[in-house]
Amino acid sequence: MTVTETLAFSDEAMKKYEWLLSRYPTRKAALLPTLRIAESEFGELGVPQMKYVADLMEIPPATVFGVVTFYTHYRRAGVGKYHLQVCSTLSCALRGSGDVVSRVTERLGIGVGETSECGLFTLSKVECLGSCDTAPVIQCNDDYHEGLSLEDVDALIEQLRQEAGKGGA
């Protein structure tokens, strides 16, 4: 409980939240977008963060938990700084997404669903990202990396490592 009490939206986030409420006839309808605010404010949606949103919106915590876990795209607790989501549905599979997964595994030493020891990378296989013409595709956090060769995969990992190094992570 003490963890929950220390969590709070910034003034800016609270403003966004108030604006969201004005866009819907019910408070509950603002739940999905409010979880996005929580995600960006707190970095992840673990139990304390979900509890905070539940309290803020006066929605039962179980409902919030049910919503967060129903969807795949919220940033759940324990995910690395860079979430490498490899599209594995048919069009990407036909153009080598399996090799992309193997390459990431080789380079980072992590399997699907695992996070690297340094905490930088999590590897996931995800379903169709709606970018089938540029297969194979990785969504890293919010960004799409499209038409990837295996060398592009190496370069992406390298670039992310450098970026993390600069940020002092």
Partner: protein, 437 residues
């Protein structure tokens, strides 16, 4: 009249998504006319006369759908724009939202004027972060220029538009699942009736239209219903975005008249099957469609022709597979998708998709039995038409057609200890040892 592109003519130009660019090409003129000169009923009749049919997958006549919304309602009415685009093989609405967002907004204004709607929600899938930002920027601009808001384009019509991001769930592309998700719940579909037109979002009358459907509206007003009906076949006319992916030289989105031949689409527009290989199979309308063999591809890409060919236009997501593709692996991939995406409400879907994935898996890894092929059909029979929404059907259609039309691939995998890819990876492990993996 020669064919004119309406969605994609300028997508390669810098700033094509900007308001200035859009207005420079005559953008928002049709919305202005709709708001100031047209009567709502005339708009509905014109869209009916144009025979615009929904571009999301079901192909329902748009004007007819609008007509179901009660004219007099003491509740507010809503428009829910389906931008969830998650049918495997489909990536057309993304192009409109990223490159031509004001075209969508203009279509939204016309629809809302026709039906008397003052708030539209655009439900965009959560993964499309770039597209959602593009849309939001376009909406912000439209508000600041008086295109949206209290007095749209100088009229007395009020319209608000809100972007609502999904969070990763295929089922939210199903219309009632989408409405449930906007209401802040797990995106589980609801029984129909009541249909959304009568009791939809927040219990109020709601129009649900796809992005591409709405993007047709300015053009219909511009050239009139009669001219619009002349584009492609009369029963499903209009310009259309076709998505081609998989084993072709040039995958992409192609804007062509409805009714283009599937063969032409693949061979000419998408550059043909890649690496000089032969065609093996094509999914013509997103992964929920019945699969076609190479010999069945001389078919027109329109709603009626594909239905007559035993499949569907669906979302026009064409997935091409070359001669090296093992259809057991393709089936396994597709079934894993549906099993993962089943929302879990209805037993035939929740269990059926799981069974189909397991059967495909055991055949792929060398534990299959010939009886499994009949079992697939049997499971499919117990799924189709027995659930709240069409996800069960969407899984069963490819399953039964792939097994029926490519039976030899399955028999070979059963006899040879797995699919070719599996056998290559596990040469010593043949004969069903992996049946229970």
């Amino acid at each position: 009249m020669s064919f004119r592109k309406i969605f994609t003519p300028y997508i390669h130009e810098d700033k094509c998504h900007s308001l200035k660019f859009y207005q420079g090409k005559g953008g928002y003129e049709q919305a202005r006319k709709a708001l100031n000169d047209w009567q709502p009923d005339d708009l509905i009749e014109t869209v009916k006369a144009a025979n615009l049919r929904g571009r999301g997958g079901a192909g329902f006549p748009t004007g007819v759908k609008w007509g179901f919304v009660p004219k007099q309602s003491d509740k507010p009415k809503y428009l829910a724009v389906n931008a969830d685009e998650s049918e495997p093989g489909t990536f057309k609405d993304r192009l409109i939202m990223e490159k031509n967002p004001h075209l969508l907004l203009e279509g939204i204004i016309i629809c809302c004027k026709a039906v008397g709607i003052h708030h539209a929600y655009i439900y965009i899938r959560g993964e499309f972060v770039f597209g959602a930002n593009r849309l939001q920027n376009a909406i912000d601009r439209a508000y600041s220029e008086g295109i949206l808001g209290e007095n749209c384009l100088g009229s007395d019509f009020k319209l608000d538009v809100t972007v609502h991001r999904g969070a990763g769930a295929y089922i939210c592309g199903e219309e009632t699942g989408m409405l449930t998700s906007i209401e802040g719940d797990r995106g589980q579909p609801k029984l129909k009736p009541p249909f959304p037109a009568v009791e939809g979002l927040f219990g109020c009358p709601t129009v649900v239209n796809n992005v591409e459907t709405l993007a047709n509206l300015p053009y219909i007003l511009e050239i009139g219903a009669e001219e619009y009906r002349k584009i492609g076949p009369e029963n499903s006319p209009g310009p259309k975005l076709f998505c081609v992916s998989g084993h072709v030289e040039k995958p992409g989105v192609f804007e062509l008249p409805m009714g283009v031949s599937l063969r032409t689409l693949i061979d000419e527009h998408a550059g043909g099957v890649w690496k000089g290989r032969k065609l093996k199979a094509v999914i013509p309308g997103g992964s929920s469609a019945h699969v076609l063999t190479a010999d069945e591809c001389d078919v027109a890409m329109d709603i009626e022709s594909l239905a007559a060919a035993g499949t569907m236009l669906g979302s026009a997501g064409v997935i091409v597979m070359d001669e090296t593709t093992c259809m057991v692996d393709a089936l396994l991939n597709i079934m894993r998708f549906y099993h993962h995406e089943s929302c879990g409400q209805c037993t035939p879907c929740r269990e059926g998709t799981g069974w189909l994935e397991k059967i495909a898996h055991r055949i792929a890894v060398g534990g299959g039995r010939v009886e499994d092929l009949d079992l697939v059909t049997e499971v499919c029979d117990r799924m189709v038409g027995k659930t709240i929404c069409a996800l069960a059907d969407a899984a069963a259609f490819p399953a039964e057609s792939i097994v029926k039309k490519f039976r030899e691939d399955f028999v070979a995998a059963i006899e040879n200890g797995g699919s070719p890819a599996w056998v290559k990876r596990h040469p010593a492990n043949t004969g069903g040892a992996a049946a229970h993996v």
